[in-house]
Symmetry: C2
Subunit: 390 residues, 2 copies
């Protein structure tokens, strides 16, 4: 007799890009050079001051558990960052250090969702969000968003889609896959609409600090009764360190503490000590330098994709993604991406991973590789298109 | 209007020891010396070869994501460890590296449990286990276990307690809080009883390698169709590194991969590189030395507690805990522990955190501090008892 796999787990969608990546690795092992424009991870190493702080801590050898909510000194530094960066005063007791933003999202959703509770999400959006909700037997309602709202949810869409079982809204800005930033006045209207329905707002801000026009505002500028997810991964080049945080309303600090103790025990201690150096002036200067590099890449890739005939209705002002409409070339972006990999050795992510509506006519390009590689990738895409795009 | 806390989260029980710990910290901040015999974490630093491997990796600065299931080299080393330590051949593809055993348990339970599914657990047992089940809207059925089965579940207890909604059994050996090891012949009967009901067995083996008589056998010696949870935390002195693993049946590798990608992205990269040094001969020698120290402490503390009049019906042969019956002195172990802290400055964990039955007449003593401290603690407990134990 066979042990049964849980329905909850069966229904979690796989990352379709994994199939493409598997094929990319296969080709690489056969000696092919692959240009990677699919990677959702900065190509920069962790900034030197953070690494040094990590090494210095490890040299003590004393890698014991921290308190469940995180190192008090790190919670204070994060609270200080909200003051200096956004002009927002929050108590460090509202900051919970977690294993990545993944941990933060699990923590917040576990504190908010009961079985059958529904969350509104944008389509396109980051696929894991739905899967966390599925893990907790909640329901995701994907709402198609368009260029007219920078590919973000609006108060109007919330009002139109809110149902009895709806409990709240998750937004992510800058967005993965679109790289677009939500307008703060729109966010304010959205927040007030959510609050008037007694709902919750979760604001995923993991791509803050990676913006190429105006800085993104934090949802915390609108009030205290909301949840923010953030991470050291993208902005501070600390992906492999697995360190993120959640900011919760005062009322939720007790339950967040209890959940942290039980689900995580604590985030990794050496990562937390290393992250103490993230907000130092030396690190922040390095982060700014990288931001300038990403901006240059964004400008280059955006220009080239437009020249090639892709359509990008809203300038992506953050993260390191361009979500391009490829309908001029194909009505099946998945096949297009697989063929592009096979023929030209360029890996990009088909829209399929990011939603249901419009996915077959979109591709996500990541500029997590240098301009030389991007230029070579663009050339090869041009060649692919000239030979029919198949 | 207030945002509602999820029922699932409200119902997760807090760690009662936290209140006691809070008071202990308060006393310490007032200048009192506290003897800590409540800590569930080895007092030893991480072994030098592991720390060095971690530092060496960090010096590369290249702390990017690993594959979701973990570094292939580490999965292979763990598979190799099952071969050398237990004589069990498993494919590395069945090993999933996770953020601590906490991550491993979440991964396995998420793959197995749907809402309302019941898991059988021993009372007393580790409290987080129930809380993970609660997080997933499952049900825990706590089954009182006695000295006659080394405080472990038996085939007979499984048969008596199995119901329509029961899906499986979780055992932990050596056990927290009792430190006792399940008899392998009993485990075999239990496993066969579970399998005949088409149920799952999860074997929590995080205290393996911390045994003071015969080594503990792995449940994997009984077959492949079961789940093992393990961790680098206790045996390898890597608590703060947050690194564990799960071994799953072949059928579950796909779903475990999908869940890992979504819930964790991956375990911490630097912790994984460091852990590659865990199975080196130099580290294993250090682990053996520590095992000898723990055994000496166990022998000392066990003897002293018996002399003081506590009752410990089964010799605890593993972990670093003694679960002592204090009914000769009190029928309220929680009050007893609070008074012991207040009067004598000795922190121990009341039974309350570990179950429902018999909790008020039990205390967990941890020997995660050196013999000098243990001796001082024992003296103070003696003094406390002489002055009436209140």
């Amino acid at each position: 007799m066979e042990i049964k796999i849980a329905k909850r787990a069966e229904e979690i969608s796989p990352f379709y890009v994994m199939e493409l990546l598997g094929r990319a690795r296969e080709l690489e092992s056969q000696g092919r050079d692959i240009i990677h424009m699919e990677v959702g991870e900065p190509d920069f190493p962790t900034p030197e001051p953070i690494v040094s702080a990590g090494i210095e801590f490890l040299e003590s050898g004393n890698v014991h558990y921290t308190p469940a909510a995180g190192l008090p000194a790190l919670r204070e530094k994060i609270a200080g960052y909200y003051a200096s960066q956004y002009g927002v005063k929050i108590s460090p007791s509202r900051v919970f250090i977690t294993p990545g933003a993944s941990g933060a999202l699990l923590l917040v959703l576990a504190a908010l969702l009961d079985s059958g509770d529904e969350v509104l999400l944008s389509d396109p959006g980051y696929p894991c969000n739905q899967n966390f909700i599925q893990l907790l037997d909640g329901k995701s309602r994907l709402i198609p968003v368009e260029a007219n709202s920078n590919y973000h949810l609006t108060a109007e869409l919330i009002e139109k889609n809110w149902r009895d079982c709806t409990r709240g809204v998750l937004i992510a800005s800058p967005s993965n896959p679109t790289g677009t930033i939500i307008d703060q006045a729109e966010l304010e209207k959205l927040f007030s609409s959510v609050r008037s329905r007694n709902g919750f707002l979760i604001s995923d801000e993991i791509y803050h600090g990676l913006t190429y026009g105006e800085s993104a505002a934090s949802a915390l500028e609108l009030g205290d009764e909301l949840f923010v997810i953030n991470s050291f991964s993208k902005q501070f080049g600390m992906t492999g360190w697995r360190l993120g945080w959640a900011v919760v309303p005062e009322k939720f600090t007790k339950v967040a503490e209890k959940l942290s103790q039980n689900i995580f025990i604590a985030a990794a201690t050496h990562s937390q000590y290393a992250a103490l150096a993230a907000f130092e002036p030396e690190t922040m200067q390095e982060i700014e330098r990288r931001q300038a590099v990403f901006k240059e890449r964004r400008d280059f890739l955006y220009g080239e994709l437009i020249k090639l005939g892709f359509s990008v209705p809203v300038m992506p002002d953050g993260a390191f993604y361009i979500y391009a409409d490829c309908s001029r070339f194909t009505d099946n972006s998945y096949q297009f991406c697989m063929a592009l990999l096979e023929k030209e050795g360029v890996a990009v992510t088909p829209g399929r991973d990011f939603g249901l509506v419009g996915q077959s006519r979109h591709i996500r390009f990541a500029y997590t590789t240098d301009i030389k590689n991007l230029a070579e990738g663009v050339d090869k895409i041009g060649h692919f298109l000239k030979s029919g795009g198949k």
